[in-house]
Symmetry: C2
Subunit: 250 residues, 2 copies
DNA sequence: CGTTGTATTGAATTGTCTCAACGATAGTGG
DNA sequence: CCACTATCGTTGAGACAATTCAATACAACG
């Protein structure tokens, strides 16, 4: 008892304030009734900070928690038997990382901070227990996981049918809309990831990514300097990204 | 009351017998305690049969149910804005279709029977309700969805980094192991899908698929006649499928 | 001011696609 | 049972997008 009180007090300063979190409309709290929010907050460990390059978790280590990005950004990747890396996703604030590991004892991928990043941790047993009690939350979990499947299908589609230009246009637009969701500029942002990661993620050579960037720039569609990107002609990008199958019919 | 009894009686002959189903070790019953199995059986609609080419459900129609394949096989695909088709998966007996639609009002893809196919239907509201009551079942749902995410990542990887030969070898091995799971021959089976579907799924041209098949055949790795396939040298296929990155190192 | 990692640019190579023709197979109706 | 037709699968030759290899430019950092 006394211990319970002590714990509660001790964790109080660290305890999540989903109530006040600006991302609550994107993250798990979205699904939770105001009066149940405390129960979610009770299981969250909040405020862990990772520096650029640090691992949030590692492939093949015991799967314990899912993580919500609070600020910064994360890349997930799989290391194959050959030692090759495959980037499987980029995660921005409000997005949940680790859903692909819920089928195994160990993490299915490695999550790495692309910049100084703060996360909220949801221990999986507690989360599962809670979703069993809160149907809305369970529904939301299904929703998120399903979304992840769809995203991955979209990616597979992009990789199997689209040209380098189309893939990069699609990525830029995806990032753009994700920035916008957070009420940041959708046309003027800085890429959290290196060219290398983009290339890997999109199944291209780094050189190709570079070439496409400059090609877009020459066409006046974007302005790029290193990681700093400005989308000058969003419509053109949209054209490009869905303009496969039709030949040249701009 | 009387109605309840009537319903129970009426549905009795159609009611699922997960108890006796040979696929219960792959499907949802896997996660359910013996004494809870009835509750799962209560929500299942079993025994719907579809002929080759018939749609189990259609993209953009209201999402109502997930389906477990009982016999036969299913392909799922997305139709893009351009009218292009993208095959997103093949489903064999014991596997669950529709998980990618749980984030939306409507089905995210179309499911089509590749041959005469029998399915069990799980209405989604009832399923969600039940998973809220049976933690093991909830866990299993998370497991399946997570698996689906991983599969899709694997596919993305295959599409982005591997050659035509590697992709096809991987597909053949995947099918092989899925046949084996059902205690069927893993080296001698007939492909449920057309070359066209294989090509679409793997992001290749039909011609390329054809060429690789004959190449494998000339190398004595497989024997193929139409959809009938025999894997003559499984190890060679395994070599091929994971032998990217290393150059020429047979 | 080198050093290291990251990004860009160029030239040559190649795997896969496209286009096109042909063969095989299955289903249909006379 | 045999054409007839449609669909599916195979094979060949040329084109092209992206890769690979190689060199250079740029930025951050101790």
């Amino acid at each position: 008892m006394a211990q319970a009180i002590r714990l509660r007090q001790a964790s109080s300063p660290l305890k999540a304030s989903c109530h006040t979190c600006s991302l609550s409309n994107l993250c798990l709290p979205l699904a939770v009734e105001e009066n149940d929010l405390e129960r979610l907050e009770d299981i969250v460990q909040q405020g862990r900070i990772f520096n650029r390059g640090e691992h949030i978790f590692d492939q093949s280590t015991p799967f314990r928690s899912c993580f919500a990005v609070r600020s910064g950004s994360i890349k997930t990747s799989i290391i194959t038997e050959n030692g090759e890396e495959q980037v499987t996703g980029f995660f921005m604030p409000g997005e949940l990382v680790g859903l692909d590991s819920m089928s195994s004892e160990n993490y299915a991928c490695t999550a790495k901070a692309l910049e100084r990043t703060s996360v909220c941790e949801f221990p999986i047993e507690k989360l599962e227990e809670l979703t069993g009690k809160l149907p809305e939350l369970q529904h939301h979990m299904y929703h998120l996981m399903s979304q992840e499947i769809q995203n991955s299908h979209q990616l597979a589609m992009l990789l199997s049918k689209n040209t380098a230009e189309e893939r990069i246009a699609a990525l830029l637009l995806s990032l753009s809309s994700r920035f916008q969701r957070r009420r940041m500029s959708g046309t003027n942002f800085s890429l959290p990831m290196a060219r290398n990661d983009i290339a890997n993620f999109l199944g291209l050579a780094v050189e190709t990514v570079s070439r496409v960037f400059t090609r877009f720039q020459n066409q006046g569609v974007i302005k790029a300097r290193g990681r700093e990107v400005e989308l000058l002609d969003v419509e053109a990008l949209q054209m490009v990204s869905r303009e496969f199958s039709r030949q040249g019919g701009q």
